[in-house]
């Protein structure tokens, strides 16, 4: 189906565009036809997932593909847990699809609204020093190339392209199917508690290494970190879920209810932010609970914000957080959202923020109505100083020349792009900036 004339914007409302044409192919063949028509007329084409990237990476002024109708399982999972999903499958649908097979995704980010293709294409990750991001779970993709043909990339076929296309920024082709390695389903035991920030920073690497999934939030203007430690337990362990009323640290920290009001107030009266943060700090108590994995990993975020996130070598996290703390202090800024700190194992995907190094992620947020430039750019230069690599789906200012220096396989990726998309059918302004024309 086709529609025209509607304005598209991303979740954070940082980007918008009126595409020339919007298409919702229902079959792989229709997807191929869409690409062929675009290629034949020389008009750029781009798939969007859930529009949850903060950057312009998904902006499609030409032909915008919505893949909602290309969703669900393609065939049965294999005995060793390989699951093939159609490109548009949303992460929140996957638990239901996998349940009959007793499988689950190994790790997730903190929301599940994304499409599987969007999530892998931008390097979406969760936390856990022993685990990679979602793209690290990819074992194969079926991609529509610039000629409209189907290309299967897996360990058996065109394996040389796998480290490129598994995290391909949407720059190499339109993904039709993704095969991921899943694991037997499991439950998570979650412990959330406020702790002194300095203690946390002093011990963070050991704690991240000791736990399956460790992360913490720190509210500027407080001395408290909210830690979250998840332990993997076999499926069947008796769950003790949170009640509806007291679901999750995130609900207070980044999501709904009270915090929306405080944010809105804080925009108007920045001076009260430190006090608001202290309040949020107090609201969050010690909590422990146990539930099936995806319910612990993810929440629903309804307060709109803007986010920047960098991956740096894990061991540099304490120093970087302290630098940011000093920065905020020195500038006298009022910052309403917490910093979020997470960890991931090294991987070997060419454009992964965790390529070749154990990684610590530091994310900063701003309420979407607040102007973010000064805060973000100062934090960005601190993190760049630590060898940081920007998350492809979150706000940053790097261009191809900068990025070539921090990704050893940047040249390989560009070569793959030249080979797969010499005419830049899949490009847009963001990709021109980060990959070059």
């Amino acid at each position: 189906m086709t529609a025209t004339g509607a304005m598209w914007h991303n979740w954070a409302r940082t980007e918008k565009v009126m595409p020339l044409r919007v298409e919702r192919p229902r079959t792989t063949a229709a997807l191929q036809r869409a690409v062929r028509a675009a290629a034949g007329s020389g008009i750029r084409i781009k798939a969007i997932g859930a529009g949850h990237s903060f950057t312009g990476i998904a902006v499609a002024p030409g032909i915008q593909l919505e893949l909602e109708d290309l969703s669900g399982l393609s065939g049965e999972p294999t005995a060793d847990g390989l699951v093939t999903l159609f490109a548009g499958t949303r992460l929140h649908d996957i638990p239901r699809l996998l349940a009959p097979y007793g499988l689950a995704m190994e790790n997730l980010g903190d929301i599940a609204a994304q499409s599987i293709s969007g999530a892998i294409s931008t390097g979406t990750h969760g936390t856990g020093a022993g685990f990679g991001g979602i793209a690290g779970q990819v074992r194969g993709v079926v991609m529509v190339t610039a000629s409209g043909d189907l290309l299967e990339i897996s360990r058996e076929s065109h394996a040389d392209l796998l480290p490129g296309v598994a995290l391909g920024l949407g720059a190499l082709g339109i993904i039709a199917e993704v095969t991921i390695q899943c694991v037997p389903r499991f439950v998570l035991h979650a412990v959330e508690q406020p702790e002194p920030l300095d203690d946390v920073l002093d011990t963070v690497l050991d704690r991240a290494a000791a736990a399956d999934h460790f992360e913490f939030y720190w509210f500027p203007h407080t001395r408290t970190a909210l830690t979250k430690t998840n332990t993997r337990l076999p499926f069947g362990t008796k769950p003790k879920p949170l009640g509806r009323v007291s679901r999750f640290v995130d609900d207070t920290v980044l999501a709904n209810g009270v915090y929306r009001v405080t944010c809105a107030t804080a925009v108007v009266v920045p001076a009260i932010i430190p006090r608001v943060n202290l309040l949020a700090d107090k609201l969050t108590g010690n909590r422990t609970f146990t539930d099936v994995s995806h319910r612990v990993f993810t929440t629903r975020r309804t307060v709109k914000f803007r986010e920047m996130e960098y991956g740096i070598p894990a061991e540099l996290v304490p120093a970087a957080v302290r630098d940011i703390e000093a920065l905020i202090e020195q500038k006298g800024w009022r910052i309403s959202f917490p910093l979020e700190v997470r960890f991931a194992a090294a991987d070997d995907l060419w454009l992964s923020t965790a390529y070749g190094r154990a990684t610590g992620y530091i994310a900063v947020h701003k309420y979407y109505r607040e102007r973010s430039s000064a805060y973000f750019s100062a934090v960005e230069s601190i993190l760049r100083g630590y060898g940081g690599r920007p998350h492809w789906g979150k706000i940053h200012t790097q261009d191809a020349a900068d990025l070539a220096e921090i990704y050893p396989h940047f040249g390989d990726f560009l070569a793959a792009r030249d080979r797969l998309d010499p005419r830049r059918l899949f490009s847009n302004q963001y990709l021109e900036r980060v990959l070059g024309i």
Partner: protein
């Protein structure tokens, strides 16, 4: 002279320049200043867009090029060189004979009574293999036999035309055009049996052209109720037709091995392609993108073809008169068949003259500023007839003329 309708080189980052008229028309105007009026321009990017958008809308079924909607030989050739297009639907037999010189699959879209052309066809094996005639009655078969008897001629390929108008009981009456007397599956099967029983004929195809679906405007902003009515009518007609056509095709297939079942029209590519009984779709007017299609709901062709006339006098300060008129499109005569002035913006025709004479006065916001020698750009309502007013089209790409393509008329071929 040939153009290629598949883009090579970099994909455009500004996808559709025609969506910004303030830039598009002045650029087209600047590119063609060296050509005298009346001048026809083909914007290559827009033509590519239309050509490929139609392939996409055809949902994987090949498109047979309706030549009457183009009437430019090299454009037809370049379409046939593009994957997704196969064969042509010509409008007269002399045209078909001319095209068959290098096109091997030509269906004549209408019955023919041209004795001379029929004799030529029937006495040339090569032509007879390439050309298929449209028939809907025994009289037409008799006519062909009278030109050259079956034992003295090549086998004539014929295509049975099935009427797809929707004959309603109520006040609507017949919706669609009056084309063929063959209306039911039983009619079709009976006539098919007649054809196969006659020596010298081969039944190879069936055609069912959905004028009432393809040709009806269904999304005019100022006429919402009417448009909704049109859409209702199309939906009903599509479901009625799909059923009846499928039955008829099945019935005819019991009698003859059909090579193709043709359905179609630019306005109905989606619904026609969804009908399993159809194997190919005839379409053409979407290629040049006449303004008729501006008011369709599910697609928006680009203004690939346009023409310019010169202001030659100012009868009044607020009126600019152009040399040139006519340019009226086929269909029920009415205002919606007139060419539309598109640049400069804000020009309208004078109600008492419109575009019918050899000069066309224009009034409106911009008319006072126009001076003799200035040019005004128009879009044609439909497509092919535009070529009957021009000897050639200037092909514009990247802000310059890259080629000049003669029309049928420019090649001395005024077929109809």
């Amino acid at each position: 002279m040939a153009i290629t309708l598949s883009a090579n080189g970099r994909a455009e980052s500004s996808p559709a320049p025609w969506l910004t008229p303030d830039l598009f028309w002045p650029e087209l105007d600047a590119a063609t200043t060296s050509v005298e009026t009346p001048l026809g321009a083909l914007h290559l990017g827009a033509l590519r867009f239309n050509a490929h958008d139609m392939i996409r809308r055809a949902g994987g079924k090949p498109i047979r090029v309706a030549t009457k909607s183009v009437r430019v030989r090299s454009v037809i050739d370049s379409l046939l060189a593009t994957e997704g297009y196969r064969g042509v639907l010509a409008f007269t037999l002399p045209e078909a004979i001319w095209l068959a010189d290098d096109i091997d699959d030509v269906v004549v879209g209408y019955p023919t009574m041209d004795r001379q052309a029929l004799r030529l066809l029937a006495s040339d094996e090569r032509l007879a293999e390439r050309i298929t005639l449209m028939v809907d009655s025994v009289e037409q078969l008799d006519f062909i036999d009278a030109c050259l008897p079956p034992n003295a001629r090549a086998r004539i390929r014929v295509c049975l035309e099935f009427d797809v108008a929707w004959r309603t009981e109520g006040p609507l009456g017949t919706v669609g055009v009056l084309r063929s007397p063959i209306y039911t599956a039983a009619d079709a099967e009976r006539f098919a049996r007649v054809i196969v029983s006659r020596p010298g004929f081969e039944l190879v195809g069936m055609m069912a052209y959905e004028a009432q679906i393809a040709g009806l405007v269904d999304s005019v902003p100022s006429r919402n109720a009417r448009s909704a009515g049109m859409r209702w009518l199309k939906r009903r007609s599509i479901s009625e037709l799909t059923e009846r056509r499928a039955e008829a095709v099945a019935a005819v297939r019991r009698v003859a091995d059909l090579e193709f079942v043709n359905g179609g029209g630019t306005g109905s590519l989606e619904s026609t392609s969804a009908d399993d009984s159809v194997t190919e779709i005839a379409a053409g007017s979407g290629l040049f993108g006449g303004h008729l299609f501006d008011d369709y709901r599910n697609f928006n062709p680009a203004p690939a073809a346009s023409f310019a006339l010169s202001v030659v006098r100012k009868p009044r300060e607020d009126t600019a008169t152009l040399l040139g008129g006519g340019w009226v499109a086929s269909g029920p005569p009415g205002r919606d068949r007139l060419p539309r002035p598109v640049w400069p913006e804000g020009l309208t025709m004078v109600p008492r003259e419109m575009a019918g004479e050899v000069q066309t006065p224009l009034v409106g916001r911009h008319a006072a500023a126009l001076r003799p020698g200035d040019r005004v750009w128009f879009r044609h309502t439909k497509s092919g007839e535009l070529s009957e007013h021009l000897n050639a089209f200037s092909v514009v790409d990247g802000g310059a003329i890259i080629d000049t393509l003669p029309t049928y008329r420019g090649e001395g071929k005024a077929f109809l």
